[in-house]
Amino acid sequence: MPAGWRPSTRMRQHWPARSGPRGEGSLHGDGCAVSVIGGTRTSLVFSVSPRTTLQSQFLLGEGGKSKEAEIKRINKELANIRSKFKGDKALDGYSKKKYVCKLLFIFLLGHDIDFGHMEAVNLLSSNRYTEKQIGYLFISVLVNSNSELIRLINNAIKNDLASRNPTFMGLALHCIANVGSREMAEAFAGEIPKILVAGDTMDSVKQSAALCLLRLYRTSPDLVPMGDWTSRVVHLLNDQHLGVVTAATSLITTLAQKNPEEFKTSVSLAVSRLSRIVTSASTDLQDYTYYFVPAPWLSVKLLRLLQCYPPPDPAVRGRLTECLETILNKAQEPPKSKKVQHSNAKNAVLFETISLIIHHDSEPNLLVRACNQLGQFLQHRETNLRYLALESMCTLASSEFSHEAVKTHIETVINALKTERDVSVRQRAVDLLYAMCDRSNAQQIVAEMLSYLETADYSIREEIVLKVAILAEKYAVDYTWYVDTILNLIRIAGDYVSEEVWYRVIQIVINRDDVQGYAAKTVFEALQAPACHENLVKVGGYILGEFGNLIAGDPRSSPLIQFHLLHSKFHLCSVPTRALLLSTYIKFVNLFPEVKTTIQDVLRSDSQLKNADVELQQRAVEYLRLSTVASTDILATVLEEMPPFPERQSSILAKLKKKKGPDTATGLEEAKRERSAAVNGGPEPAPASAASTPSPSADLLGLGAAPPAPAGPPPSSGGLLVDVFSDSPSAVAPLAPGSEDNFARFVCKNNGVLFENQLLQIGLKSEFRQNLGRMFIFYGNKTSTQFLTFTPTLICSDDLQMNLSLQTKPVDPTVDGGAQVQQVVNIECVSDFTEAPILNIQFRYGGTFQNVSVKLPITLNKFFQPTEMASQDFFQRWKQLSNPQQEVQNIFKAKHPMDTEITKAKIIGFGSALLEEVDPNPANFVGAGIIHTKTTQIGCLLRLEPNLQAQMYRLTLRTSKETVSQRLCELLSEQF
């Protein structure tokens, strides 16, 4: 830095428009545009008093100008710049830079800029550093990835990368990292790893290259080839320059998440690096010590990297445990500084340590220590620490080792729920209570959540309602408690009780005899309230319609009183609720013959029979007619009590997950919770109520009839309540027996019958070309009865979804007896894959619910294109693929008779070309082909050597990708 450098002069110097030598038409020269900016002169760090100068007072004084004035001023300036760019006179570099910089400034003020890109690109090839720098800045901020200028930009970047000038290289790398487009990845993803691992690259360039590569990998992982460089990158963890280690650790962490095998060696290096940092004195690391904490950023990153892997081998593990213990011990030492930066940095490392301990979930001692540490933070005066402690404890609660330790803090957490002033902290407390809940404390936690609900912020009410509903169901020992809890929920926060919640309570009441009388009594009492929530009317109407008879003996709740009570709410309710109540009335006609005439009078009234709403009118007409013409026996059959619902996973859980967003972490947490729930005594045993075959008319009560029932005589088909529940991802049936065998049969052929039982036949026809395919699935109903709510679903794991894209349309939900429906699946292979999608089919046949799962035979070899080649070519390529990872070999016993012709047919059916006269031994088979995926093409060579005496085969696969060799070998080995 030049001596005597002063910030204020520099400010002018770098802002050409303000006082540049050719400042004519300057945007800021007259102070007007500055007034647009506002802004204050208060020092950000030492904010004691505002640093007011004459100048700033002038600037701020003008701040009241209108928005129109700002726009006018800016449009004028834009017009000026545009004319300069379009003018006959070629602009010199300096002016170009000035105007590009102005454009950027205007853009950053929030205005759209639609020109100047070309001028900015021109600046890139300037030899002047500042011009180049502004050019790059403009590109980084303003160029989006699909710009047609990208080729020109890439060219300039290429030149700078090749310049060997570290400053220019740095600028170019920063630009790639900032834009990070696919085109840039295509152009540079191969080049940057070389720069990164080259021996003569400067440290600062290495750092930029590492993070640049990281950005490209995030946007286009397929374009960053793994290779020899990876092992050298891992060794950057040993680099002397801590800045290089920091950048490299970020890169390795990201790469290791997708390619754990490739970066396995980083574990021990990271542990020893961490160990050196943890044990160093605070002065050892010089400028990398931050407020007396040695290299906090690097420590956090190393701990994060270790979370990509399971606990390491015993030797390394001992060392790591030592590190973690040291960090936990240090947390107990008195702080070395009172500054919040010191405690933040120290605790950042501590929290990351705890995350790692939770991730490993294997050292009870460490887990309990972590829990105690967090317990201390729960009462810390820093809000930030309380927040994080609550958050982190949530994950600890799911570990079997620390669940009990977490539970000891229940009072503190409940207290936090009541006293925290910040809603986001209270939200964390709710989450933690939910996570620590088990049968021992469920009543207390649910009660606390209910009482919090009365005053809770509107933004989090719905989530609390869902959580209470789930906990109440999951840990109910006594179902009367459950019914009370849900009714309380509706009373306190009726608006936030979603349909799933009240459907669920009805489902449970119907399935459990022991609670029905209590439920009827309770809803009857709750309905006495002068103003009750419509959701309560719905639950009350449904339950009294089914079980009103159980309390009718009491003169205080005689049939007539029940009816009048419900009917008093009728006129205040919405159409769907009224429709439900009408169904309740007709059920009453069956339950209580004595109120029949009263109800018929109601149904006959003009407000019902001539109701403007079609659904209500239809119900009134039909129910009235039914009550008049049907004999008691028929009424009793038609209006029989609802049969038990088939047991399903609560759809509330699905709703909660959906509310939390498509967040895999939450799903994981949920899965962990389930596991821990098993530890704490297991979920409530499912009520024994297999779906017995109900009478066909049981579905008469069309509930929640939002869509009008099809015109025609009752009963309207399809139990709507059931439909609603089947929307939730209900448990998928385990694979049908024989599914694996059938699956294997389809590896070498495309058409045939995939599955068959007494009810259903599934046939397949498929065709594949390059990386695309189309599969026709035929579902045949073998019975003479309709299948209802027929829903086939394709299920792919997350992994598979990324590599294989399947598109299909839903099929008609009814399949007539003897009919066949067809479903088309469009298939695209994005990258190579191992698993197969599952086809799950759910439908109702008669009264029973059917659930079938089969593996859908979409296998990697379907994207095979045969390649013919001569013997010489074959062996040359064979030799090229000689890395040990590229070859996979399998020796196995023949499962079928060893027939040459069949074998040949299978190899051709597998998709590869069968190469004759290539192998010197004519008994052997060799094949070649290319696997087409959207991202790459993978050449594959195979060789099958039969040994007739031993009835064995040896199969060797060589491809350029390890996973591909592996998968193809597995698939083909099953065929012989």
């Binding site: 204050t40 020092s43 950000l44 400053t167 950048a247 950023w297 930030n384 309380r386």
Partner: protein, 163 residues
């Protein structure tokens, strides 16, 4: 880190850095929403909040809010210190930095940020090293200026000699 925003108490955006590809429309929407949310929070509240599926970490320095969006598994406290280190860097470079420095020298603010954070990850945590890089760049500028000057003087000299 997915993005970093600097905005004033009046809600004016002073600096924006995006580490994920988003359309301009989306960026504007996010900015509007976040500025509103953060400005509505009271001083004693905690510096973290959940927003969509991200975590927001923010801190106020005098009239400016520094606001980072990080992913679920990222560390909130260390992000808070990323913000602080950035402020320290600005402060050291400008000498008691204030909002106007960032407005008028926005390009410097960006260059310093690029040296410190790249692709949303910390590149160099040493204050010395970051500032050294920026100063070298400044020096480069001076050198070019001097070169031009000497060239100009050289020309003049020729003119003198020629006459």
């Amino acid at each position: 880190m997915q993005f970093m925003l600097l905005f004033s108490r009046q809600g004016k955006l002073r600096l924006q850095k995006w580490y994920v590809p988003l359309s301009d429309k989306e960026k504007k929407k996010i900015t509007r929403e976040l500025v509103q949310t953060v400005l509505a929070r009271k001083p004693k509240m905690c510096s973290f909040l959940e927003w969509r599926d991200l975590k927001i970490v923010y801190k106020r320095y005098a009239s400016l809010y520094f606001c980072c969006a990080i992913e679920d598994q990222d560390n909130e406290l260390i992000t808070l210190e990323i913000i602080h280190r950035y402020v320290e860097l600005l402060d050291k470079y400008f000498g008691s930095v204030c909002e106007l420095d960032i407005i008028f020298n926005f390009e410097k603010a960006y260059f310093i940020l690029d040296e410190f954070l790249l692709g949303g990850e910390v590149q160099e945590t040493s204050k010395k090293n970051v500032l050294k890089a920026i100063e070298q760049a400044d020096l480069l500028q001076e050198v070019f200026f001097l070169c031009c000057l000497t060239k100009a003087i050289g020309c003049l000299g020729e003119v003198w000699e020629g006459s």
